[in-house]
């Protein structure tokens, strides 16, 4: 770890060209599973959402959920892909207990959608990410690995399997290799997943919650010496389950591979696992032989042949793309291109818009989210969305400042309180005693005392050295423990001394 952190992505791209590729799995938000009527809700007690079909009991037969086909076609259309007029499901055979049938129904050489693209913006530069295919399959069960030190499959004594997730419709979106991004490769990878998530959210086909696993990414990375004609050997990093991790997984793999190549080594084509805690990857199931899934057309299902008229209906009903919506929103919120792309790529646009919807001005939303909150998220190494503050609370804080109840300095302390879980901004003001002193009696006497205690400063001010007012201000602030509004104190001093300040 210590050695990798010394090398930067720029060091890597000075000598190598990266090529990346992303495979994104998305659980569709249908009510029932792909081939049976079991519910798809997240978080139920284990094995309570299963039936003979998704458990693969003898004699049970799958029937395709038409909504899942519809959602997949809509995703394909939104990604500018070609929709198949005829395609089949395929049986993917493997021995692994996450599917009780010992196979997964997927699509192989006949995906529902092919050849699309998604444009993403990074640093005001547009990158076109080409989409190889979008296909429909069923999700697998969820395993808990018991007895190992880390909860990982390696070293585990046994595993416990819950099949509630088995059979939930799952769409896999595969990009073509993305070349030519240089040192922006990690950021482009993240921007692509962010944009894809926005697109899927806009289509309302999935709740796209990476932390709950309804959207998961596998990241392929390879390096080739600069200018080389052929691409390098790629690795596939699994278990990449946040936007930030997508960026880090690419970065850490680029750095690791460059070290191997620098030392004259070879990259082994393998699966690697990403670890959130160290932001690094480790080798996965390398000892297993190359997979031989023996795909064949699923005999229990008939082909799917979407009616072109239906596809056109779905196309006509597509919502505006995220970029069109963003253009509108950017104008409404008065954001610059850079601010907009920063908010989009940090996934914070929604927070920003909700803050404005909750009553804050765009200027205030910008000040807090792009200022203090961005700094704090950065310092704590978390996403803006992970900070313990809601858009409504930010709007509440902005309102307190606008109403003159707290000044900027106090507002930052209110922010501390909210982030520390002390409640709503108003409650923090009360419990921490942060309100600006509006008790004119207390303020009056603080100002009077400051003037009486500093006759030589008063003389200076009266003689025209108005900058000396800072001393009096400081004295009042000290007396009121910083809770006075500087502008009004200044006005009071000016009035008492009969000068313009």
């Amino acid at each position: 770890m210590t050695t990798t952190s010394e090398i930067t992505v720029d060091d890597v791209t000075a000598r190598y060209d990266p090529v990346i590729g992303l495979e994104t799995h998305v659980e569709l938000g249908t009510m029932s599973k792909m081939f049976c009527g079991c519910p798809t809700e997240f978080g139920a007690e284990p094995n309570t959402q299963t039936c003979p079909v998704c458990l693969g009991l003898p004699g049970a037969l799958p029937v395709v959920n038409v909504k899942a086909i519809e959602y997949t076609i809509r995703i394909g259309l939104a990604l500018n892909a070609t929709i198949a007029t005829w395609c089949r499901f395929a049986r993917k055979n493997y021995f692994y207990p996450d599917m009780p049938k010992d196979f997964q129904i997927s699509q192989y050489d006949e995906p529902l959608c092919t050849d699309g693209y998604l444009d993403v913006m990074v640093d005001s530069e547009q990158f076109r990410v080409e989409i190889e295919r979008v296909h429909l399959e069923e999700d697998t069960g969820k395993s808990l690995h018991v007895g190992g030190a880390t909860g990982r499959i390696q070293g585990a004594d046994h595993s416990l399997v819950d099949y509630n997730r088995a059979g939930i419709p799952l769409v896999e979106i595969v990009t073509k290799p993305i070349a030519g991004t240089g040192s922006l490769a990690p950021v482009v990878a993240r921007a692509y997943v962010t944009e894809l998530r926005e697109l899927l959210r806009g289509l309302d086909v999935s709740d796209v919650r990476m932390e709950q696993g309804s959207m998961r990414c596998d990241v392929n990375t390879s390096l080739a010496p600069k200018g080389a004609a052929a691409w390098g050997t790629r690795t596939e990093t699994k278990n990449v389950n946040s936007l930030r991790s997508v960026e880090r997984a690419v970065r850490s793999e680029m750095i690791r591979q460059s070290q191997v190549l620098d030392e004259g080594g070879r990259i082994v084509q393998e699966t690697r696992h990403f670890h959130e805690d160290t932001s690094s990857t480790t080798s996965g199931r390398s000892k297993e032989e190359a997979t031989d899934y023996r795909y064949f057309p699923e005999p229990d299902l008939v082909p799917v042949a979407p009616d072109p008229a239906w596809v056109e209906e779905l196309r006509a009903a597509l919502p505006d793309s995220p970029s069109v919506k963003r253009g509108r929103r950017q104008a409404e919120l008065g954001l610059s291109d850079d601010e907009m792309s920063w908010l989009v790529n940090t996934g914070a646009l929604q927070l920003f818009a909700e803050t404005v919807a909750a009553g804050a001005s765009a200027a205030d939303a910008r000040k807090w989210w792009l200022g203090d909150l961005a700094r704090r998220a950065n310092a704590e190494d978390v996403e803006l969305a992970e900070l313990a503050i809601t858009p409504a609370q930010v709007a509440g804080l902005a309102r307190l400042v606008a109403d003159g109840k707290v000044n900027d300095r106090l507002a930052r302390q209110v922010l501390d309180g909210v982030l520390a879980g002390e409640g709503e901004p108003e409650a923090v003001v009360a419990s921490r005693g942060l309100a600006v002193v509006s008790d004119t009696g207390a303020l009056d006497s603080a100002v009077d005392n400051a003037i009486a205690d500093n006759p030589e400063v008063v003389a200076k001010i009266r003689s025209g050295k108005v900058a000396a007012v800072g001393v009096l201000l400081g004295s009042v602030m000290k007396a009121t423990r910083g809770q006075a509004d500087a502008a009004s104190v200044k006005a009071m001093i000016a009035q008492r001394l009969g000068v313009e300040l």
Binding site: G37, E45, V63, V64, P97, T150, R152, G155, S159
Partner: protein
């Protein structure tokens, strides 16, 4: 003639996690070859105007609406499991690899 080799059979047996003896490899290679060459006769009659199919009946788009159906009770689900723990199926170690 399809000529399935002994190695092919050994590979398939491994993929299917079947323990097959050397004698059985010879036996099955011969038997499977007979089955494959019998089925291969289909190729003799399949002309260009007969597309490959996986179904005898030309059906498409057999679907169901996105509606909920009944689930099994977890007790029933786990009744046939060789081992269960905490409402989950308990399975032996999956990978023989150290941590």
């Amino acid at each position: 003639m399809t000529a399935l080799s002994r190695d092919d059979v050994a590979h398939l047996a491994h993929l299917a996690r079947l323990a097959v003896t050397d004698e059985e490899l010879d036996l099955f290679a011969g038997q499977l070859d007979v089955i494959l060459s019998s089925v291969a006769h289909v190729a003799d009659v399949a002309a260009d105007d007969i597309p490959p199919t996986t179904h005898a009946v030309p059906l498409t788009n057999i679907t169901r609406p996105d509606a909920l159906g009944p689930c099994l009770h977890p007790d029933e689900v786990l009744a046939a499991a060789p081992a269960a723990q905490g409402g989950r199926f308990r399975v032996p170690r999956i990978l023989n690899e150290p941590a």
